[in-house]
């Protein structure tokens, strides 16, 4: 790799990292897993003057459930995709994320790449953006000025654009803990292993006495950002998962998609795959067991 010249810092504490960001923010890029940043620098599409490598910063590799409030999952900025893929906690309690993790690119990318880094990169074809939207997650960002918690819907601002400020470091992603009976899954259409999603669909539902209490549907690769199919979600809440409600929700999800025709397929095709995948995901969940 032959990137442009850059200055390299490898802080070991969070304070040190935030100090460096306060000083260099505008011209700096944070390096975690590097699976997006390094290719961009290699191609010289990105030429940051400063690279702040946070891999040595202590206290960012936690993957755990907090019991505070109604409880939430905490995913530190240095938690690798491979860790998510192998986590029993995710498999038991966060099936949407657990299903998506092994579908991210290839094992080499998953060994290095991080969920938080992927969210910051804000690629509309990133799978975790949709997972976070379906699960109503948020991103915790810190700077020398303090801490912000940004709901994922506001965090993802446009293609490759997030609302994180240049002096801020995303330290953690959070997802509310599920309640009652719940299930979730992620479906991804890719041309070949390791390719970006042609279409990805994250679904999550929790139910009480057979009726949906919470529904989450996130769409990948069919818009300028990951899309939260809110109307489809709303159509499910309060109802049972039946063929009719599933059809209606999948139709609304397809309507929420805003795909473009490209080398991976026509807009019409992608929109219809959204419909099929949302329906399949929900069908799968309607038969799923209780937690």
């Amino acid at each position: 790799m032959f990137p442009s010249n850059f200055e390299y810092f490898a802080p070991t504490t969070l304070d040190e990292a935030l100090g460096l960001l306060a000083e260099h923010g505008e011209e700096a890029k944070v390096l975690a897993g590097g699976q997006s940043l390094i290719p961009l620098m290699k191609l010289r599409f990105a030429a940051p003057a400063v690279v702040i490598d946070i891999n040595r910063v202590a206290g960012l590799d936690h993957l755990e459930e907090s019991k505070r409030g109604r409880g939430f999952l905490r995913i530190g900025a240095l938690v690798r995709n491979a860790t998510l893929e192998r986590s029993d906690l995710l498999a038991d309690r966060y099936p949407t994320m657990a299903t998506a993790a092994p579908l991210i690119s290839d094992p080499i990318v998953r060994n290095q790449g991080t969920l938080v880094g992927s969210l910051c990169h804000a690629d509309p074809q990133g799978d975790f953006g949709s997972v976070m939207l379906a699960l109503d997650g948020e991103v915790v960002v810190k700077s020398t000025a303090g801490e912000r918690r940004i709901p994922i819907k506001r965090f993802l601002d446009g293609p490759f654009t997030s609302t994180i400020r240049p002096d801020e470091l995303a330290v953690e992603a959070r997802v509310p803990s599920p309640e009652g009976r719940f299930s979730g899954t992620y479906l991804k259409l890719e041309r070949k292993v390791g390719d970006f999603a042609t279409v990805g669909v994250a679904v999550f539902v929790s139910t009480e006495r057979g009726k949906v209490t919470r529904a989450g549907i996130g769409l990948t690769g069919v818009g300028a950002t990951n899309i939260k199919a809110t109307e489809a979600e709303a159509a499910l809440v309060g109802n049972r998962l039946t063929d009719a409600t599933i059809d209606e929700a999948s139709r609304l999800a397809a309507a929420a998609a805003d795909p473009r025709t490209d080398v991976r397929g026509s807009a019409d095709y992608k929109r219809d795959v959204v419909r099929v995948y949302v329906a399949r995901g929900l069908q799968e969940l309607s038969g799923a067991r209780a937690a």
Binding site: F2, S4, N5, L43, R44, L189, R191, K192, V263, Y269, D272, V273, V276, Y277
Partner: protein, 716 residues
């Protein structure tokens, strides 16, 4: 039997009866798997400089000016090379493998996106890449043509206006076969089925991109050029002709190569500029292509727009085939096209079928795309031809309401018809197509598959697709009377030296890229002489130290160089016989050969092994005989060879999304003698996944109009 004889028999080392057909492990894999291969990137010479290439962001543009001042002033930059500088040495253009011309560095215009415009030579690669960004090229974009049909339309922008007498974008118009006879056949047809398809441009994508280290020593006047080349000897000759350097002073060394697939047959601008720079600067210059540069500029494969028609009688008998093709050549005609057949081995388009009439029309068009047309998985257009005829046969089966296997069965050339002269003029040596197909159908459980396919169509769920293809290839070029590259005949060669201790070195004119030559060719010698493969070093890729050959591509190495290895072994065995006769004090006529030794007929204890004979060749050879046990053979095959195959591929298709997944692949290949079955099977298994992008016609994105122009600067 005497006691002595019994002891001798018991102590004889156990050995396989024959090394041919043994699945021994690949000798080369120890170093490849342990990361101890030696590739271009591993070569590091004292005082070496590094080169990077500036590539055009436009598919078609006039170059008004190139300002290199700022780049040249960057500390660490030694030189900036432009087409203008090369033109002063008559090196701005170079010949292609088909005798056309291709720019080394653009002078007047760029004619493809990614075309080489300037090169920076610097003390390290980082500086070289930094300097690329400081080169200021003033382009004036021109309308680009990336579709060959549009290229041939009246008023299309003239791409090769540099060529005298070139008034349009047509490269060639060829016809082959018998137009009148084919016309007649079509008149008699019960049905004419058609296929109109684009076999898309594809990219060889080897793991290792191209690269070279050019070391022109101003004191010795020797040019040592390490290069990723599948054909080092031919490259040496081309370099001698292009640069004017005396050929004895050029040494091309192809070290280990990380895959080629035809990508490493052509001469690329990077090689030429690095060589010129080393000549001008008196220091070694290294160029390592990166993936971006490889994808955008390297020799492509395919890109044929094909219209085929098949005339069939009511009972399915095939009467004739006619084909119109338009080949998208890119901006230079650079096919590896060694045959005197006009459309290359596309003439195999009659496939495995007894087709009495055929007519092929092929046009080539210049477009604003990368040149190439090099082999990919045995091409010279064989693959395209197979694809077309098999698609036609499939369509015919559907239209006639016949099972595709049955339609093939009714039309296969029969075993007793060989040697068979095809309607396009090939003489097929042998074949038994129906047996191959029956084996494949049986292994696949074809009848049950068809029943299952019907069941799923009525019951819903995932659909079953059953693909069937029978293929006959033409490969193993020469014979030299019909095949050459730029006039160099397509023979190949082997030199074998057996050392005094009975160990040997086999030197070949071909150059493998991972195919297993170091094992396979050792097995051929082992089969002929009985020297165990582990005792034979196979050496390739160094023009100073191997006999002349045309290189490894289009499935020619084993049929041609492999045969040369067998032939030279036999020559040595003849000499060994003379030495054995001398040692055993008998007449040559009294000796018989078995595995690795000569024995006296009727006195089997009287033997001399090849190792004993080799020792004697240097220590106790007969008076009047030259010492040593070595020789060289240049093999010129009498004909191409015509392997055949039937494949059955079963896919599951999701009717709602179109997703498909192969679930079962049966491959029956007749490849002749399997020298190392494990390697043969590995080749088939390796090739099958590589075939999977073609059915959905996945294409290299460079074919889309989106890349016709753009602001991005591509660099390598």
């Amino acid at each position: 039997m005497t006691a002595t004889e019994e002891t001798a028999a018991e102590s004889a080392p156990e050995k396989p009866l024959d090394w041919l057909g043994q699945s021994i492990k690949r000798k080369e894999d120890d170093r490849f798997l342990a990361g101890r291969g030696h590739y271009i990137e591993d070569i590091d010479l004292p005082n070496m400089l590094h080169m990077a290439i500036l590539r055009s962001p436009y598919a078609h543009a006039t170059i008004n000016s190139i300002d290199t001042t700022e780049a040249a002033a960057l500390p660490g930059v030694v030189a900036v090379v432009t087409g203008e500088l090369l033109a002063q040495h008559n090196l701005a253009w170079m010949p292609t493998l088909s005798g056309d011309t291709q720019a080394v560095l653009a002078t007047d215009k760029v004619r493809m996106q990614g075309q080489e415009v300037a090169c920076v030579i610097a003390e390290d690669r980082y500086v070289a890449h930094d300097a690329l960004e400081l080169i200021d090229v003033d382009y004036e974009p021109l309308p680009a043509v990336v579709n060959p049909f549009a290229a041939l339309e009246e008023g299309a922008p003239l791409i090769r206006d540099d060529k005298e007498g070139q008034t349009d974008n047509r490269v060639y118009h060829w016809e082959a076969g018998d137009a009148a006879a084919t016309e007649e056949a079509f008149l008699e047809a019960h049905k004419v089925v058609a296929v109109d398809t684009h076999y898309p441009r594809s990219h060889p994508s080897p793991l290792e991109c191209c690269g070279c280290v050019a070391d022109l020593n101003p004191a010795s006047h020797r040019a040592t050029i390490y290069m990723t080349s599948q054909a080092p000897h031919a490259i040496r000759t081309v370099f001698a002709l292009v640069t004017g350097l005396p050929e004895q002073n050029i040494q091309i060394i192809s070290p280990d190569i990380g895959g080629g697939f035809g990508n490493k047959v052509p001469v690329y601008p990077g090689y030429v500029v690095a060589t010129a720079a080393s000549l001008l600067l008196g220091r070694p210059v290294k160029w390592i292509e990166d993936r971006t540069g490889n994808l955008i500029s390297t020799g492509f494969a395919r890109d044929f727009h094909m219209k085929g028609e098949l005339a069939v009688a009511r009972d399915g008998t095939m009467l004739g085939v006619r084909v119109k093709m338009l080949s998208d050549q890119g901006y230079a005609y650079a096919d590896a096209q060694p045959s005197k057949l006009k459309a290359g081995l596309f003439h195999i388009v009659t496939g495995s079928y007894d087709l009495p009439a055929a007519h092929v029309v092929c046009d080539g068009a210049y477009t604003n795309k990368a040149p190439g047309g090099v082999a990919y998985r045995c091409s010279f257009r064989v693959t395209e031809a197979s694809f077309l005829i098999e698609r036609l046969v499939q369509n015919a089966a559907v239209e006639l309401g016949l099972d595709p296997a049955e339609l093939r069965r009714r039309n296969f050339i029969q075993p007793e018809q060989f040697p068979y002269t095809s309607a396009t003029g090939f003489v097929y040596d042998s074949g038994d197509y129906e047996t191959a197909m029956d084996m494949a159908l049986e292994m696949a459980g074809y009848d049950e598959l068809r029943a299952e396919q019907q069941r799923r169509r009525t019951e819903g769920g995932k659909l079953l697709g059953i693909g069937l293809a029978s293929m006959t290839e033409a490969l193993g070029a020469g014979p030299s009377r019909d095949y050459d590259i730029l006039g160099i005949k397509m023979f190949d060669s082997a030199e074998l030296r057996v050392h005094p201790t009975g160990k040997a070195i086999l030197k070949l004119g071909v150059r493998h890229q991972g195919q297993g030559h170091e094992t396979t060719f050792a097995q051929i010698v082992a089969h002929e002489l009985g020297i165990p493969p582990d005792d034979i070093l196979v050496h390739e890729g160094d023009t100073d130290n191997t006999p002349y050959g045309l290189g490894t591509y289009a499935s020619r190495s084993t049929p041609v160089a492999g045969a040369a290895a067998a032939m030279v072994s036999r020559t040595l065995r003849e000499k060994a016989k003379k030495i054995a006769a001398h040692l055993l004090e008998v007449s040559e006529d009294d000796l018989e050969w078995e595995h690795d030794r000569f024995s006296v007929k009727g006195a089997p204890s009287q033997t001399k092994t090849i190792q004993e004979i080799a020792f004697a060749a240097y220590t106790n050879h007969p008076m009047g005989m030259e010492a040593g046990l070595e020789g060289v053979h240049y093999y010129d095959p009498p004909n191409l060879t015509f392997p055949f195959a039937t494949y059955v591929v079963v896919v599951e298709v999701d009717p709602e999304t179109g997703e498909w997944q192969p679930i079962h692949v049966v491959a029956i290949d007749d490849c002749g003698v399997r020298i190392n079955p494990m390697i043969v099977e590995g080749q088939i298994m390796g090739a099958s996944p590589r075939a999977s992008p073609w059915p959905p016609c996945r294409r290299s994105p460079s074919t889309t109009t989106a890349t016709a122009s753009g602001p991005t600067s591509w660099t390598t």
